[in-house]
Amino acid sequence: MNRTRIIDRTGGIFLVIVLAAAVLVPASNLLLSPTNPLHVPDYMIPLLGKYLSYALLAVAVDLVWGYCGVLSLGHGAFFALGGYAMGMYLMRQIGPRGVYGNPVLPDFMVFLNYKELPWFWLGFDWFPFAALMVLLVPGLLAFVFGWFAFRSRVTGVYLSIITQAMTFALMLAFFRNDMGFGGNNGLTDFKDILGFSIQAPQTRLVLFVASALALALGYLICRALVTSKYGKVLVAVRDAESRTRFLGYRVENYKLLAWTLSAMLAGVAGALYVPQVGIINPSEFAPAQSIEMVIWVAVGGRGTLVGAALGALIVNAGKTWFTGVLPDAWLFALGALFVVVTLFLPKGVLGLGAQISGRLRRRPPVPVESTP
C-alpha cells in the first residue's frame, strides 16, 4: 500500500452523478417544456436540494461512526446549529418587511417585547460572518464536547447516550422563548438571501447546485482524510482502541479532529437545508431526527461515505413518497427497513452487489483497498 487513491471507482461514479445532477437538473428545469417527461418541475428543486443537504449530513455522520466508531445520536444538534446560524442571517435580511415593520428586530422579538437585538444576534446581518458561524458554532460545541468526552475515555453506548442528551438539552433550551431564537416557532418567513428572493426559482436552482457542490466537496474532504495514514489510525481506533494507544497514538486527538470536522460538515448541511425548506425550529434537535440519520448511514452502508449519501437519498425519497401515500405507516416502514438492513444487509445497499456476487461464486479473499 502506498496512499490509497482518493477517488476510487465507487467514489468516481458517485462524484460524476452528483456533478451531473448539478448540471442536468437545472438544465432540465430551465430548458425543457413542462410537458416533457424529463422536465424537473419547480417544486422538486428545493426537495432535491434538501435531500442533498441530508446526504452531506450522512457523510458527516459516517466519518465518525463508520471510520472512528463513535456512534453519534446527536448529530442533529450540529445540523440544527448550522441551520440556526443561517436562519439568523435570513431573519436579519427581512429588515422592515416583517409583519410589525421593525427595521432591526425580527417579528418574534417585537412580539415578545424585546427592546433591542440580543448581543448574540449582532453581526448576523453580514453574510460572511453568518457563514463563519455556520462552521464555528457547531465546530466549537463539538470540540468542547469531544475534548471532555474523549479525554475521559467515554466510549461506546455511553458516548452515544451523552450525544443524545446533548441534542435533547439543546432542544429544550431552544424551545424556550427567552433563548432569543424564536422558541417553539423557530425562524421562518425568510425573504432574501444575498439580495435574491428566496422564493424565486432561480435562487432555488442556485441553492440546489450549491448543495450538490457542498456534498461533492464534503465527500472529497472526508475521503482524503480516511485514505490518509490518519484514516488508517482512525479505523485502528475503531477496531482496537487500546492497542492503538499502546502503539503511541493519542487516540483522543484523532477522535477529536474527526468529530469536530464532522460537526462542521453537519453545520454546513444545516445551513444549506434552511433556505431550501424555509424554516428552522427546535424540532430539528429532536433525538428522533438524529437517530434517523444513523439509519440513513446504516441503510446505505456504514464506513463507505458514498453509502451514507446513498442511504440518505433512498430513505428520504422513500419518506417523501410514503408520507404521501400512507402517512401513518412511515415510522413502521422506517423501523422495518432498519431491521431488514441490520439482519440481511450488514454492509448496506452499497455492499449488496458484493454480497450477491460473493454468494454466487466463492471468491478467494481479495485485499481490500490496497494497491501494492
Partner: protein
C-alpha cells in the same frame, strides 16, 4: 543457540532464524547523567489497590538493559496489573516507577510511555483485523504519531524498508495483503510481535506469547524472543513452564502482588514456598 532453536531451524518451511541485525538495530542512547539508576526499568514498592484489594503489594522489580526476564505466578498474582502500571494504564497508589532512570512512568499516559520505547503485547493477540497485515506493521513503525502529521503522510523509503524487513522477520511476507483478521492465531501472535518490533522499543512486555500456539510455534517464539533480547530488554509473562525453560533466563515469581522468589528456573522451582503457592498445585 539451545537445542530447541536448532529444532526450529530444521522445521519444514521455516526461515532461518539467524539474527538479522538490521531488524533489531536500535540506538541505545547514552545513559543520561541525571539518571537515578542504571537499570532500564526500576519499580520500587509499587502498590495498587482496587477497592481495598491489593493487586500489587509493595512490588519491587529491576530489569537491566538488554535483559530478558520471565515472570510467572498463579492467577491473580498481579502480573497483568504490573504490566498496566508500567505502560501507564493503571496508576499506582504508591511507589516509584522509573524508565531509563529519568522517566517517571507514574505521571505519563499510555501514548507517551509507548513513544518513550516501551512496547506491550497483549495476552490475546490484538491486531487491527480490518487492516492488511502490511498496514498493521506500517501503523506500528516508529514515526510521527501526531494526527495532523499523519493527514499529510506519504510513505517514505525508510518505512517501506522497515515493513519489508519486519514482515520477513515474522514470516508474514506472503500474507502482506491479507486482512489481519483472516490470519491464524499463531500468525496473529507473530504479527503482533512484528508490530512491537516496528515500534523500536527498548523494553518489550510480552504477555503469554505462547498461549494457544502449537509446540513448534512455541519453540520458534522462544527463539525469536531470545534474538530480540540481544538488543532490547524483554519481560515475558508466561504460564507454560516448558516455554520458560526454553527461554533459559532469570525468573521472577509473583505471588499476591509481590515478589516471592527470583533466580534461575531450577532454583526457584526448588523453592518450597514457590512449590506451595504455584508449582505444587
Amino acid at each position: 543457540m539451545s537445542e530447541i532453536s536448532s529444532d526450529a531451524v530444521k522445521s519444514p518451511g521455516a526461515i532461518s532464524l539467524e539474527v538479522d541485525d538490521a531488524v533489531f538495530a536500535v540506538d541505545h542512547p547514552v545513559r543520561d547523567p541525571q539518571a537515578l539508576t542504571s537499570a532500564l526499568l526500576y519499580l520500587d514498592a509499587i502498590t495498587v489497590s482496587f477497592d481495598g484489594f491489593r493487586a500489587l503489594n509493595a512490588l519491587s522489580l529491576v530489569i537491566g538493559d538488554r535483559e530478558m526476564r520471565a515472570i510467572i505466578g498463579p492467577n491473580g498474582a498481579g502480573k497483568t496489573t504490573m504490566m498496566d502500571v508500567i505502560t501507564g494504564k493503571t496508576r499506582p497508589n504508591t511507589g516509584t516507577a522509573l524508565f531509563a532512570g529519568i522517566n517517571d512512568l507514574t505521571t505519563l499516559d499510555e501514548a507517551a510511555i509507548a513513544q518513550l520505547g516501551i512496547g506491550r503485547k497483549f495476552q490475546t493477540p490484538t491486531v487491527f483485523d480490518m487492516h492488511t497485515v502490511e498496514d498493521n506493521i506500517l501503523l506500528a513503525v516508529k514515526a510521527d504519531r501526531r494526527a495532523f502529521a499523519n493527514i499529510r503522510w506519504h510513505r517514505t523509503a525508510h518505512e517501506s524498508a522497515r515493513v519489508d524487513e519486519l514482515l520477513e522477520r515474522v514470516r508474514l511476507k506472503d500474507h502482506r495483503f491479507r486482512r489481519a483478521g483472516d490470519l491464524s492465531h499463531g500468525q496473529k501472535q507473530w504479527l503482533e510481535i512484528g508490530m512491537l518490533l516496528a515500534q523500536e522499543p527498548r523494553l518489550l512486555l510480552v504477555d503469554e506469547p505462547a498461549a494457544g500456539m502449537t509446540d513448534q510455534e512455541t519453540a520458534d517464539t522462544a527463539v525469536l524472543l531470545k534474538e530480540i533480547a540481544k538488543t532490547r530488554s524483554v519481560v515475558v509473562v508466561e504460564h507454560d513452564m516448558q516455554f520458560v525453560r526454553d527461554l533459559d533466563v532469570k525468573v521472577t515469581v509473583l505471588h499476591e502482588g509481590s515478589v516471592l522468589a527470583e533466580g534461575p528456573l531450577d532454583q526457584v522451582s526448588a523453592d518450597p514456598r514457590v512449590i506451595e503457592v504455584y508449582l505444587g498445585r
